[in-house]
Amino acid sequence: MNFIENVKLAFASLKANKMRALLTMLGIIIGISSVIMINTMGSIMENSVNDIFDSQGGASLVGFQITLKPNPVRDYYTSNDLMTEDMIYNVAERFSDDVDALSLVYGTDSATTRFKREKLDLVVYSISPGYLKQSMTGVIKGRYISDKDITKHGKVCVISDKQAIKLYGSLDNAIGQTLSIDMYNQSYDFTVVGIYEYQLTGMMSAMVNMMGEDWNNEVYIPYTTMAEIQGDSDPLFFYFYVNIKDGVNATKFAEEVKDYMNNRFYRNNDSIEVYYATAEQQMEMMGEILGLVSMVISVIAGISLVVGGIGVMNIMLVSVTERTREIGVRKALGAPNSAIRTQFIIESVIICLIGGAIGIVSGILLGNLVGLLMDATATPSIGAILLAVTFSMAIGVFFGFYPANRAAKLDPIEALRYE
């Protein structure tokens, strides 16, 4: 019996029981749609993680921070444990062949500024020049914080384009203006020397969207200026970042720096040492988290596919029983067992394929709904779609075989007599 006839027949019998067919497909739909959803979300996450790392200097970023030794004598830090400027500059000097930019963060402080009769919140980042170079924000007007600003403890700042427009009307107008920053119960006047482009990508924007908070209130100032304001003549750091030059192996570099610093500065420290984190590690970690989430959803998908398959088998058994007489007639008309078997397997495969197709579409939609939160869209890979299609067909054949075989083996006389 030919294939097209079988397909038409299958559709006709599905059409006769639309609701039943749809309910039967539900398991397959849920299963396939979760697989596709994961795949879609996976590629969105991957893109967005890559975006973040790219904008922060990508894989070239290595961070160093102090941490507890494996068997510490105490479990708290003292000011003696923190990294000094001298230590950090010593490292930068020692590894100058590998280091492209160095960024220090002295602190982030809440502050306010007055604008008309409003009080605007600011977050003041006390940083070294390298920070702006490697951060996701690029300066689009004016200049970065410079080395000279650091040595001179200059009262200069870099603000966002949004702040510039809000406070001064335009980017051009903003450069050279004075921004009064109120912090630590005093007011300090800073000169605006640069404007960075406010942009959030991927996961960041997802978080911001979720918290309903606008982060365009970051103001960057030289860390030495902040240290001076706080009366701190010897700024100390928990951590610093380095952007390595092209072609430098991040892990090897990080290991060397770690060993160097621990040997030189932390050998006699009873509890504290330096440790590092590379962007690669971070990405791997993200990957692991994503992998775990995928696994959980995959298990759910697997279970619903099996349950769906059993549902298909059940409905096919019902269908065979309902159509016992029809099967008898077909056999009387000369249908060989194989034709009957094929007819029912094709019907079961078609149920699964329709379910699979609905699952693929809803999976892409759901995946992108999540992606919408991250300002990203994605399509699952062709491979995933092919896999989903193949898999639903396989379920159709596997779970359709038993009912179909039962139909094929019916005794024609018994079948014709069936009421």
């Binding site: 019996m1 030919n2 006839e5 027949l9 006709a12 019998s13 059409k15 006769a16 007489r325 029809e326 008898g328 007639v329 077909r330 056999k331 009387a332 008309l333 000369g334 249908a335 060989p336 067992n337 034709a339 024609p412 006389i413 014709l416």
Partner: protein, 241 residues
Amino acid sequence: MSRPIIDMRGIVKSFYVGTPNELEILHGLDIVVPEGQFVSIVGASGSGKSTLMNIVGALDRQTGGQYILDGIDVSRLEDADLSGIRNKKIGFVFQTFNLIARTSALKNVELPMLYAGVPAKERTKHAKELLEIVEMSDREKHMPNELSGGQKQRIAIARAMANDPAIILADEPTGALDSKTGRLVMDIFHKLHKEQGKTIVLITHNPELAEETDRIITLSDGNIVSDVLKNKPGEAKEAAE
């Protein structure tokens, strides 16, 4: 003399109802039907007519005896070959029509050809010709649930003719129809018999309809109690042998 299409010798059929209870329904029947004969089988309900018919139609196998259908010893065939025999040699017409649901009249008629592997175009063309013969051309697109009993039966007859079978087997084809519609169906059988020379075996409870056929075989409790040839003296002699 015409060669026999159905050649049955000592056909026995038993059913096993539980292990020790063998139930013999047909007790050694001899029936020879030459090509082109229109035979009716009559008898009380439960006398074994349908059981015999199932064996003739290769739907079932005899327990004992020999059955040669159009020169083929059916008892030696595998299941797969039996379906081929049913497909090409036999055309079934049932009391309850048994059209395939949700399948148009035309597609129903095409079905045996589909199983025979006839190409689509040819299938459709021939199915239309057959619908013409049973005067149902204007209903080819109709689904079975849109047709009356008589119309369904005419389509079922067209379907039975699809692969130009050696025998048409009709088990009480008018049993579910009123006498007027039954008449119409009967006329179609006569037409096929006369115009195409079809061998037809008709089971009926209606003695008047049986009287119209060439030969009446009467069954009683699984035995042939009478076998009467009519109208055609030439063939009467053969059957009497």
